[in-house]
Amino acid sequence: MIYYENISVDDIYGSLVKKTVKNATAEKVNCDYRELFEKNQYFYKPPFSKEILNSAEISSGGEYSPENCSPLFSVAIIVPYRKRANQLKAFLNYMHNFLRKQSIHYKIFIVEQADSKAFNRAKLFNIGAKYALKENFPCLIMQDVDLMPLKLANIYVCTERPRHMSSALDSFRFNLPYFGLFGGAVAITSDVFIHVNGFSNMFQGWGGEDDDLYARLVHKGYKIIRFDSSVAQYTMLSHAKESPNPDRINYLRSGYLRFDTDGLNSLVYTERAIKPMELYTNISVEI
């Protein structure tokens, strides 16, 4: 584990990008976020992933905006998914309970790979980002379905610099294994994501795509940031490990050749269905 540049709890609020989707009403008082960072409480308790509290607050498509104040932040949460129904249920229950405590405007997009090819996490992120960008979300958070944030102060909002959110993951003993790790859960403003041309679409199977995104960010001169390890704590749900793609190192090495040609601008896929579900928007695609 190495030391990494981080934002301490007290400085988090100042570092956030305050932008919302335009239709947010301006009549109400702005939401107050300071309490989150002053307390820095643990949120994780087993019941929160078992049942959902006040599900009537959440509008169809998995969107939520605080009712008694106007939020300063809008965020699209994009989650790639295939055939892990139990985990998806736990994730949605937990995240809706967790995110509503943060008084932000958010919408959850579940991008489902409907074919039987190797799982392409990066491409699913690109597809999800495309739909989120259509709805003018200023901030994209890309997260795996098996990760759950533990601290309420870990606000699901973009910072100026691209942020690696899951830097203190329990299955890594809450340490960061290497500096260039940019997988798990990341927060990127839409402008930056478009500027780096999104993820590469070439990485099939497990591994490599997050390192490639990191290389893209570095190539365009962006420096990543993380929250302090007391805030950025995550727990990983247990599941069988996927077999890594043997070609991932080669793709990674030659990645810089495709930074401008392979990504958001070369996205080819077949749309199966877009369904607003009770707790999320389901984007089902064949890649």
Binding site: M1, D170, S171, R173, N175, K241
Partner: protein, 320 residues
């Protein structure tokens, strides 16, 4: 003459090979599955203990246990540095582990080094082996004698009778007992330790205890670090900015050979730590009572001297 040297070489080879094969075989069989692992580590302590008792009864001078402890230490270091996923560990944690191992080696080496001081008359027979010069040696012996004599006079014992060794055929200071393995009388004999290949007595007793404590902590640290990095950990508490983790979900550890080796190594370490824990507790109780293990097993009480309080007993133990 030739025959003798050949048999000696054969014996040495056997001493090294037996523990090596034993350690590798047990660990590599245990990585097959959980059932194998449980079975091996149930048999393991029974096998070691019965062989130890067998050797102790025969009073043989075997190197097998010494090589076994040496190889185990090397095995743990290799396992930790090459197989445990080091990326998940802090450099500080690695440093602490290596320091504990180093401390253990230093303490046990000192135990071995100072063991020659315990031998009664060692200065005259094996001058080259003895650590310090003759004067120093005899001074310490006479010091003990002075102390013990004081005690004897207090209790008015007929020292003639008790303070002589029937095997060595000479007078000995109080609380000195003959060791059949060392073939000599040992001052303040605690026990003959086959794992260190020396007798634990008056002058190396504290190094032995310190060695036990540091090796115990090294083993526990190894077990904790490797289990939390290969299993799913959860935080228990935070102290001085360091999070204390414990594993809660170790499924799938037998899927990959390297991970399984770490897991089995950790179980092995825990087992050794339990054994050491029993030794440490036993030593603590006996030292508080001012007894040695020899007195505890053979005489059931402190021999030939007055009983003191716990504080005085520990003071005596530490200032030798």
């Amino acid at each position: 003459m030739k025959l003798l040297s050949e048999s000696k070489i054969k014996k040495n080879k056997f001493d090294v090979l037996l523990p090596l094969i034993f350690i590798l075989a047990t660990n590599f069989i245990a990585i097959v599955s959980l059932e194998f692992c449980i079975m091996i580590f149930l048999v393991f302590p029974v096998a070691i203990t019965s062989f130890y008792i067998y050797c102790a009864k025969k009073s043989s001078r075997t190197n097998v246990f010494f090589i076994f402890s040496l190889l185990s230490a090397i095995y743990f270091i290799c396992l930790f540095e090459f197989f445990v996923p080091l990326l998940e560990l802090l450099p500080q944690e690695n440093f602490v582990f290596v320091s504990l191992i180093t401390l253990t080696v230093i303490f046990f080496f000192k135990t071995y080094q100072h063991s020659s001081l315990n031998r009664l008359g060692a200065s005259s027979s094996t001058t080259s082996e003895s650590l310090k010069n003759n004067t120093n040696d005899s001074v310490s012996v006479s010091l003990i004698e002075a102390e013990e004599k004081q005690c004897d006079s207090d209790e008015d014992l007929d020292s003639e009778d008790k303070n002589s060794c029937s095997i060595c055929r000479k007078f000995i200071p109080a609380r000195t007992f003959h060791c059949n393995s060392c073939k000599s009388c040992i001052i303040g004999r605690d026990h003959h330790n086959y794992f260190l290949n020396c007798c634990i007595g008056r002058f190396n007793h504290k190094y032995f205890l310190f060695g036990c404590i540091s090796s115990f902590s090294a083993l526990l640290l190894f077990a904790n670090l490797s289990l939390t990095s290969i299993c799913h950990p959860f935080p228990v508490f935070k102290i001085f900015g360091v999070m204390f983790l414990l594993p809660d979900d170790c499924t799938d550890v037998f899927r990959e050979t390297e991970i399984a080796l770490c897991f089995v190594g950790a179980i092995y370490a825990i087992e050794l730590a339990i054994a050491l824990f029993i030794v440490i507790i036993h030593q603590f109780v006996l030292i508080s009572k001012g007894m040695t293990s020899h007195e505890f097993w053979i005489h059931k009480e402190r021999v030939n001297s007055r009983k003191y309080g716990i504080w005085r007993n520990w003071k005596n133990f530490c200032y030798i």
